[in-house]
Symmetry: C2
Subunit: 259 residues, 2 copies
DNA sequence: CGCGATTTGTGCGCATCTTCACAAGCGCCT
DNA sequence: AGGCGCTTGTGAAGATGCGCACAAATCGCG
């Protein structure tokens, strides 16, 4: 995974326009690159050297035209008539995402969810290293989780500095989240992943992404409600119900609905 | 969600827009309603009876015009010159989201993450009840978590039927996720929240939402990379760096960077 | 009873995102 | 060498979403 991106100038011919490599990608594209990356690693492990846009698009669950346009923003790394070089594309995407070196991440809040996140192998496998755990509860400080020890949140500044942490995860109750965010920012953290169900207010220049598990379920609930209304009401809707409940025998060509 | 059909006229009356209670909300609106709902409950607990679009928009972290447009899709539940009735709005949103009755949810995969999700209070507080836990590992079957007992996944069909489960959460390793999804669909589940880092293929009519924790971090990593490039390069960029790292003393009026 | 202050609901232009469709490029085969 | 089939990269059209700005509606007050 820690493959090196091609040398600054050597190797491939000069990047079109890529001055210091900052293509200013559309947000929608950025959000999909990690999915492509995961699919590419999977392909690489299966022994594929090249892949067509159609093949990669399938593996990533998107439309092939969209995938090509996304990749075109990174530069021209495909070969017409052939496809994309899997290894090269992995390197390029990892470079753009800033994953050429493993990033240190702090995790604040070692409760129910925090414990699970601290032990989640998916982070370690995909470019990150949980470098420090924090909690405000003195009863939890000192606890060992994996090969880390829970620190008191007052020690945040020193550890952020020492470990070179720029990204933090908040897994505290909502009531504590804003205060924690303030302290993280004060300590120098510039990106926050927030699992607490609340809105965070942070200074300009700090990025916040939010994951709210209940919200995801509520969105699904809406669609359940809608499906129920559609199959119950329309007189000609009987076919709809049959299709819904009966379609299970053909799990093949369905569509996964993402993000 | 599940595939819009571009062919408007033929086939089903797809454009029939308004089923009595079904406003055909834009997806973007649906995704925000839960956030409004959370903010409204918070306001209600603080004793507010009414709230202006500006106030609610602040609490939910969105633009007030956007909020008004979102709510207008539900109908006219505001009073000009006054604002929105908090209680009424809560009822309306909960109805549209299908939360008027607590929904039963199945959780498959009682590993690291699954344990945390099973114990997550946020589900219970916001319209859901985890009604059954499943795992494929016989070593885990029978384990007590909260007041539930882990069932073997072979018992899925009976319990889905008995508990009236329409929504399921997948918290298994990626390698098992597709197979689990197939079995869920076969058992009658029509909405899936997938925590496994892989693309699920499901029949039409089944909704899938995906939460990939590593992807969220990778998106943040991209922005970190970009910020680093921007502050390192421009000669006059010293100011930018100062602003970034030094802005901590004024955590007040900042903006959360979303979506 | 009418007026001004306030706030909703929405029309409209702009931006972003998606999808189609096709020319240009590449490798292979004859 | 030349033609042929395959795949990329992209222009353009369409869809969706966003936010401004303002008319319409309501309340409270003199």
């Amino acid at each position: 995974m820690s493959q090196h991106h091609p040398g600054p100038e050597s190797g491939t011919p000069a990047r079109a326009a890529a001055v210091p490599d900052f293509p200013d990608l559309p947000e929608a594209t950025v959000a999909r690159l990690p999915e492509y990356l995961r699919a590419l690693h999977h392909l690489a492990e299966s022994g594929h050297d090249t892949v067509s846009s159609e093949g990669l698009a399938n593996a990533a669950g998107v439309n092939s035209a969209k995938l090509r346009k996304d990749l075109s923003h990174l530069g021209s790394y495909g070969t017409r008539g052939v496809g994309y070089d899997v290894g090269l594309l992995i390197d390029q995407i990892e470079f753009v995402l800033g994953l050429t070196q493993r990033r240190a991440v702090a995790l604040v809040g070692v409760g129910n969810l925090g414990h699970a996140l601290a032990g989640y192998a998916g982070f370690a496998n995909r470019g990150f290293r949980i470098s420090a755990l924090f909690d405000a509860d003195p009863g939890r400080v000192g606890e060992h989780i994996g090969d880390l020890v829970v620190q008191h949140i007052d020690d945040l500044p020193e550890l952020v500095e020492a470990e070179g942490i720029a990204i933090a995860v908040i897994a505290t109750p909502a009531s504590a989240a804003q205060s924690v965010a303030d302290r993280l920012v004060a300590a120098g953290v510039t990106s926050i992943l927030n699992f607490a169900p609340c809105v965070l207010s942070v200074p300009e220049g700090v990025d916040v992404r939010k994951v709210d598990l209940a919200i995801e379920l509520q969105i699904l609930s809406f669609h359940e409600h809608r499906k129920a209304a559609l199959t119950a009401l329309p007189t000609r809707g009987a076919a709809g119900l049959t299709a819904l409940r009966g379609g299970l025998s053909t799990p093949g060509p369905g569509e996964a609905v993402g993000t």
